[in-house]
């Protein structure tokens, strides 16, 4: 598992195209939010400000890394090395876990650079070093669970849906299941299974503040049974549900691979 982790991590991190694509995306984000950046950097409330950065990172960038990771498992078959790897003494489950964690760890590096980069800039400009502490907490309970959730689907779904179709469906799902207000149409957003992390953001970090809510029941909306009141317990439950779903999806990978490579 550790060898698979190391190689998968290095293969991803050395992929120059990934860095260039992230560079273009971050440049565009910076360009679009340039006018509000001054206000954000001088906002005195460190926790909410860093939470808003984590929210933006978790809203936009998962689509990118979901697409980057979509070919990681199928490419072993495409390159004809899957059978050779299967013949090694390393267990299938160990290699899968190593590949999954290595790919996710590599995808986390650009996320960490963007997230901690903005948080560090804010901490320096606003003179609030505590922002870095909040940034670490947000990374752990908001960004990493989303990464593990998306990573599992991105590795496994292309085993039975071709990668280009998966990319199109995934971005459609991401917008529908995370960014659409539940009052306007049936959606999974603001629910326990919404990987954007509305529950922890709202309960633990007071984001977005005021009367605006990004988690919990919406009067008149469908699927409200997936939206219990936002409390500390349901915030942890939401993280647990996301990780459990990721594990469930990953556990289906060996059977799916056996079916596709037969």
């Amino acid at each position: 598992m550790s060898a698979a982790f190391r190689y998968e991590f290095l293969m991803q991190v050395r992929k120059r195209s990934m860095w260039v694509a992230y560079g273009v995306i971050v440049l565009l984000l910076g360009l679009l939010s340039f006018r509000t950046l001054g206000d954000v950097l001088h906002d005195p409330v460190a926790k909410e400000t860093v939470a808003s950065i984590a929210f933006l990172v978790n809203l936009i960038l998962p689509v990118g890394y979901g697409c980057f990771l979509a070919d990681r498992l199928v490419r072993d078959d495409r390159l004809g090395v899957a059978a050779v790897l299967d013949a090694t003494p390393a267990s299938t489950a160990g290699r899968l876990a190593g590949k999954y964690l290595g790919a996710c760890a590599a995808a986390a590096i650009p996320l960490a650079i963007v997230h901690f980069g903005f948080a560090g800039l804010y901490a320096a400009v606003a003179g609030r070093p505590v922002a870095l502490g909040w940034a670490v907490a947000l990374f752990a309970v908001v960004i990493v669970p989303a990464l593990l959730f998306v990573g599992a689907f991105a590795l496994v779904v292309p085993l039975f849906v071709p990668a280009p179709l998966f990319r199109v469906l995934f971005v459609g799902y991401w917008f529908w299941g995370n960014a659409i207000y539940p009052g306007s149409m049936p959606t999974l957003s603001q629910s326990l299974v919404s990987p954007i992390g509305g529950y922890p953001l709202q309960v633990m970090f007071g984001y977005p503040g005021g009367d605006v809510e990004i988690a919990g029941p919406v009067p008149g909306a469908l699927l409200n049974f997936l939206r219990p009141e936002a409390t500390t317990a349901t915030a942890w439950l939401s993280i647990g549900v996301l990780l459990a779903l990721a594990a469930l999806v990953l556990s289906a990978a060996p059977a799916l691979r056996a079916r596709t490579t037969r």
Binding site: A21, L32, A163, V168, F170
Partner: protein
């Protein structure tokens, strides 16, 4: 003609299925309004499905063209240049999306939904509703595929740009240059007067992306290195 027929067959069911599946998903979303929407809003949502699904499917399709041939070395030795082959595949990808889009417009026009949203500019000029953003994102996807030599990063870039245009829709209406480059100006644009200029700019951008991609693909030895894995 044989080459074209071969390319259509080579594209496979996944490539052919992507535009209709994306459109069907967004049409479904457009109709899931809980019964509260007016006809005008439903019409806008249906046209939005066309304006948003086609560029996404075409963009990701175009981004997936480079880096999937198992024997590029062989392709580079045949008399037909490899970039012509890739361009032919791009035309097949965009052509299929275009055929589907025309059918959807015809369907909307026949059922009267097309006229219920005033921003559609009639059936003829109204083809720019889908044509401009589809060519623009398709051209950019082709360029990204050529630049990154593989579909993963190129697809990631295209889908992220599409999402940015969705979630930052209001922020992207503030300045004139942003409105000119905004992909969904028909259904989410703030200044209807900018529509024609926006559609024209997207077409010019598509040509520019295609031209740069063509130049990049001219250097065949770049493709031999393949995508860094």
């Amino acid at each position: 003609m044989d080459l074209w027929r071969y390319e259509v067959r080579r594209a496979g069911w996944a490539a052919l299925l992507t535009p209709p599946v994306a459109t069907a998903a967004l049409v479904l979303v457009a109709l899931l309004d809980g019964g509260a929407d007016t006809d005008r809003t439903t019409a806008r949502n249906l046209i939005a499905a066309l304006e948003m699904a086609m560029p996404l499917a075409a963009g990701v399709g175009a981004a997936s063209l480079v880096g999937r041939d198992p024997a590029v070395e062989l392709q580079l030795t045949v008399p037909t240049s490899y970039r012509s082959t890739l361009l032919r595949r791009l035309v097949v990808t965009l052509g299929w999306a275009a055929l589907l889009a025309v059918l959807v417009v015809a369907g909307l026009a026949a059922t009267g939904w097309w006229e219920r949203w005033p921003g559609t500019h009639g059936v003829v000029a109204g083809q720019l509703v889908w044509l401009s953003p589809t060519l623009c994102l398709g051209g950019l996807g082709f360029l990204a595929g050529a630049a990154f030599r593989g579909p993963a990063a190129a697809g990631g870039l295209i889908t992220t740009l599409w999402l940015l245009d969705q979630v930052l829709a209001s922020a992207l209406q503030e300045q004139y240059w942003q409105r000119l480059l905004y992909l969904f100006a028909t259904t989410r644009g703030a200044v209807p007067g900018d529509w024609a200029a926006n559609r024209f700019t997207l077409l010019v951008a598509a040509l520019a992306f295609g031209a740069v991609a063509w130049l990049l693909l001219g250097r065949g030895e770049r493709l031999l290195r393949g995508e860094a894995e």
